[in-house]
């Protein structure tokens, strides 16, 4: 028998301790497990051994622990949770099981106390998913994430609804979010995809009183495709330094695939819904226009 428990099992033991803090009718989603691991990482001491296994990266709904899926799977195997499928994802119900760890040391105790405190004070299990997302996005590495999730996605989801926003207002939300794109050079290509998405949004939504159900549905799909591509890039750029090479390679392939998916969706949307009849010759703008002055500054700056 090993003198030292596997680090993942020790983490599962912490999650077991969390399960025992829940009321009879309470449960977790996988989303919650990731958020609890994130808060745990932020609460424990820098020299706590759990730090080594609690690497975090940012993805579609906020911070994700690299071991989140492993911990969730292992906790089911150990009977700590049993799951039931729902339209919103799997629910993890406490099942009373336990996992044996041989080294109940100070690090483990600190982690258990931290998770208990997080559940009591910091993370409300019964809050809505939107409230939980809002809470963690305060720490997001890029403001664009919060802006997109809070300002753009809700508008897009309600586009076309009877009491939903005007198409013009959806376009303006997409436009405002462009200001918050990351400045990092690593994001330049995915930023340009957003700008192309914005241009198509303008062509289809600006100055429109309404859009068809088909346009609304396809625009929502396009928006989701962009978010997935952005988050795939985000995962690469926020990957922990100790992430294994195979995972990083897989994430890079996933990013390239999601970019391709978005480009295809964008081209299809533009082909089907953008009116090509722009009317005659393309026009150049006057030298004393806003763009004329910007172009002059861009082309003639001494830098």
């Amino acid at each position: 028998m090993s003198d030292t428990s596997h680090p993942v099992d020790r983490l599962v033991s912490v999650l077991e301790h969390a399960s025992r803090q829940l009321d009879d009718d309470e449960y977790l989603f996988f989303f919650d497990i990731n958020k609890l691991l994130y808060y745990l990482d932020s609460r424990i001491d820098e020299d706590n051994s759990f730090k080594e296994v609690l690497s975090v990266f940012w993805y579609e709904d906020g911070p994700v622990a690299t071991v989140g899926q492993t911990v969730a799977d292992r906790s089911q195997e150990a009977g700590i949770f049993e799951t039931t499928p729902t339209p919103h994802g799997q629910r993890f119900h406490p099942a009373g099981g336990t996992i044996s760890v041989t080294d109940d040391d100070e690090d483990l105790q600190e982690a258990k106390e931290a998770i208990e405190s997080i559940l009591a004070e910091e993370y409300e299990i019964t809050a809505s998913k939107e409230e939980k997302i809002d809470q963690v996005y305060a720490d997001a590495p890029y403001e664009f994430q919060r802006r997109f999730k809070k300002d753009v996605v809700p508008e897009v989801e309600e586009l076309g609804d009877v009491l939903g926003p005007l198409p013009e207002d959806v376009y303006k939300a997409v436009s405002r979010a462009e200001a918050y794109l990351p400045l990092d050079d690593a994001f330049r290509d995915v930023n340009d995809l957003y700008s192309q998405y914005l241009d198509v949004s303008r062509s289809v939504l600006a100055q429109q009183d309404s859009v068809s159900d088909e346009v609304a549905t396809r625009f929502e799909e396009l928006t989701t495709a962009y978010w997935e591509a952005f988050c795939a890039k985000l995962r690469l750029e926020t990957a922990p330094e100790d992430a294994d090479a195979d995972s990083v390679s897989r994430w890079r392939s996933d990013y390239e695939s999601k970019v391709e998916t978005f480009r295809t969706a964008l081209d299809a949307f533009e082909t089907e819904f953008v009116d090509d009849d722009a009317g005659g010759q393309p026009t150049r703008v006057a030298e004393d226009s806003t763009w004329g002055r910007v172009a002059d500054g861009l082309l003639n700056s001494s830098d």
Binding site: D192, S195, D276, Q281, P282, V285, V294, N300
Partner: protein, 246 residues
């Protein structure tokens, strides 16, 4: 000033960006070139350059909005009256720090000057309506140059102010032995090498004796032009001011 003896020109990305403006007062070397020479010469470019030009213009829009966001969210309203030079310095330092790259900031500073009253308004009151107004004005300003460049990719050749050479290749390395030989020049900007070979491919496939490659890019093209011209006979690398000097 008469016509250029090399009267077929191939222009790079920056010249193409400049081509979205109707220059009257001859703004800088690019504007002067386009105003003076454009009427005497046939100007070509390639779809690759149009794609790059679209990127440049959209990036300027992103930077312009970023400047708006920076001033709205982070400028210390209590610190000082928001005089425009102070605002420009603030934006310059924030953008240069954030991205580490000052490319394109000249355009953003020009925008701030042009929208002086609105940017000063942003520094005086904490109201989102001015931010939203400026965001909308920026969108409106960039709509035409983006539309111009997108139209280049779609319209029939005889209607275009710039002709596109469509018969570019995707594998110049196998077609031209010079391709790999020039790799070191374009190590930082490999698409520039492909753009150069779009021009050389046009020269060879159209049977031209010579083709002037007009570029404002001093780092790659101009500083290495002797070597480029020796490798690619018929290609003449020129700055726009060299062409208009007569």
């Amino acid at each position: 000033m008469g016509g250029d003896d090399l009267d077929t020109h191939f222009v790079d990305t920056n010249i193409l960006v400049g081509h979205t403006v109707e220059w009257d007062r001859l703004g800088g070397t690019v504007g002067t070139y386009l105003h003076d020479v454009g009427q005497y010469c046939t100007i070509y470019s390639s779809p690759r350059a149009v794609k790059e030009a679209l990127y440049v213009v959209r990036q300027q829009r992103r930077l312009a909005k970023k400047a708006t966001e920076i001033v709205y969210e982070e400028y210390d309203r209590a610190e000082t009256y928001g005089e425009i030079e102070h605002i420009k310095n603030f934006v310059y330092s924030e953008l240069a720090d954030g991205s580490g790259d000052t490319t394109g900031i000249g355009g953003v500073l020009a925008l701030i000057e042009e929208k002086e009253n609105t940017f000063e308004g942003l520094t005086k009151v904490d109201t989102r309506s001015i931010f939203d107004q400026l965001s909308g004005e920026i969108d409106a300003a960039f709509e035409e140059p983006i539309g111009f460049l997108e139209a280049l990719q779609e319209m029939a050749e005889e209607e275009l102010p710039v002709r596109l050479f469509w018969e570019t290749a995707t594998d110049y390395e196998n077609q031209y032995p010079q391709y790999s030989g020039l790799a070191d020049i374009f190590a930082d900007e490999p698409t520039d090498r492909d753009l150069l070979f779009d021009a050389f491919h046009m020269l060879t496939t159209m049977g031209l004796a010579s083709l002037r490659f007009v570029t404002d890019d001093r780092d790659d093209f101009i500083s290495n032009r002797d070597r480029i011209q020796e490798s690619l006979p018929g290609i003449v690398i020129s700055r726009p001011d060299e062409v208009t000097a007569g």
